[in-house]
Symmetry: C2
Amino acid sequence: MSDKAPWITFRPELKVLDCTIRDGGLVNAHQFSDAFVAAVYRACLDAGLDYMEIGYKNSERVFPKAKFGPWRHCDEADVQRLFGGHDPEATGLKLAAMADAGKSDWETALVSSHESPLSMIRVAFYAHQVSEAVDMIRHAAELGYETTANLMAVSNITEEEIDTVLEAIADTPASTMVIVDSFGHLYREQIDRLYRHYSAALAGTGKEIGIHAHNNLQLAFANTIEAIILGCNRVDSTMFGFGRGAGNCHTELLLGFLRNPKFDVRPVVEVIQNHLLPLRKELDWGPSIPYNITGQLNQHPRSAIEWREGSTPDDFIGFYDKVVAEI
Amino acid sequence: MSDKAPWITFRPELKVLDCTIRDGGLVNAHQFSDAFVAAVYRACLDAGLDYMEIGYKNSERVFPKAKFGPWRHCDEADVQRLFGGHDPEATGLKLAAMADAGKSDWETALVSSHESPLSMIRVAFYAHQVSEAVDMIRHAAELGYETTANLMAVSNITEEEIDTVLEAIADTPASTMVIVDSFGHLYREQIDRLYRHYSAALAGTGKEIGIHAHNNLQLAFANTIEAIILGCNRVDSTMFGFGRGAGNCHTELLLGFLRNPKFDVRPVVEVIQNHLLPLRKELDWGPSIPYNITGQLNQHPRSAIEWREGSTPDDFIGFYDKVVAEI
């Protein structure tokens, strides 16, 4: 990259993936109306985004349909119902779904990519699940999908574990290895080290490095920028930061930062005003003291989510004292 | 600094200044109850902070007392009333007030530092006011105060202007030159350049470099961390980010990041829960789409504040279209 005011220009190879529906669905068990999903899809198209992640391709055995909405499973019938006419070539937007190792019937749930509006399967896994993840990536790639490897909770494992995962993924058809800060714990010097680590381990494989940041410490956008500065070309974000717990890097902030003229932030502002702002009055997400605390402690946001959903969501001191006592 | 996991250790020389009352008062014309100010003071003491900025030392001619509360003026009688018994040596906390060039009766309003609970006068100025700022700094220093030079809106002036200001300030008794991102526009590569610029211009003067960030783009904490990484030892923050427009770097996030064991985040969490959360239900501050937009455009947040205070605060598209039309 040029050292001269790099913020004036742009890298055409940088692709934005909006995961509003997928990550936001973790807040409400993917109980979205079709109209909501269609509005986000429209915004992705109009904003010039590169990928839209429409949900999880996870199992109804783990996530019963009585409790979870269709975008937790992304059954082909549902995908066809909403996205049947989607044309990735004509629109420049590719559709993606995420499959969780250990929670997906990936052996049977995936159809050939030629029969599906989906272009990409992102495989999410914890370090100990890497063997299944490799199988999932190979299987999805054989069916014609672009694939990514999303090693979750990277702030919570050793460098040795990361090395082993990177070695296993290097040998797969995954196009991208994503740095996933599930706990929203990392700050920029740690992002730097992880990026260099990922980058060195994957050198020569042609794989891109991605970034998926959470906003527990109000660092999701900053860490995303940092990864971009270092060379990440695959970037996750959600509209209005909608996502589990403290939420994500905001798509509208990201588009305001990127200088590729193909992006237009206005459709995102529109869907925020008309769909996400009303939703924000019903659902809780975004940085708040409990998420700050779990982020700082490098903990899963689970306890903070439970606290925010409980009877005393604003008893920050109560949460602080509870967590400190448990350390 | 060590290259080995610098986030494990700390720099004892790094000082935190909490400006909750001073910057937060811009949201409500400093109409605070004494109880509120006393609670923030208590939290500063208990949290182990180094400085508390209690308000502005500005003129009642510019800010009439009928409209503005006492901490816009910091008359000595008010300062004595609330902080008369304050002992900076025994508590480790120094009290500061800010004086704005062009808006302060600094020639007559300041008493000798030995007669005041205040230890520090921070001089805020725009580039074109640097001559008055130099006079203000010299005058306050002669009266025994520690002084700082806070060049505002640095994202909006040329490098030549910055150079001229730095040259003028280098020759004053100011202990600190603060990088002030009034518009919340900067991101980390720009912070880097400014820091190097300030640092080179002030080399050999013994002056510290400070950082005062705004949160329009959710980058206040990240940019503060960045400045710290580079070597800033004077850091501004406010509790719960309370401050004009999009607000500031959050004190509770900052203390969670710093590793100096003298800091304790719990008293800050307590004052947030008991005083700032209730206030947040009455007053608007913190990142939202209008502030995102002015931050991205490197504009003063004035228009966004007016929009948020108007009849359609959540008409983000209306604000976007208005601003874009005016560019």
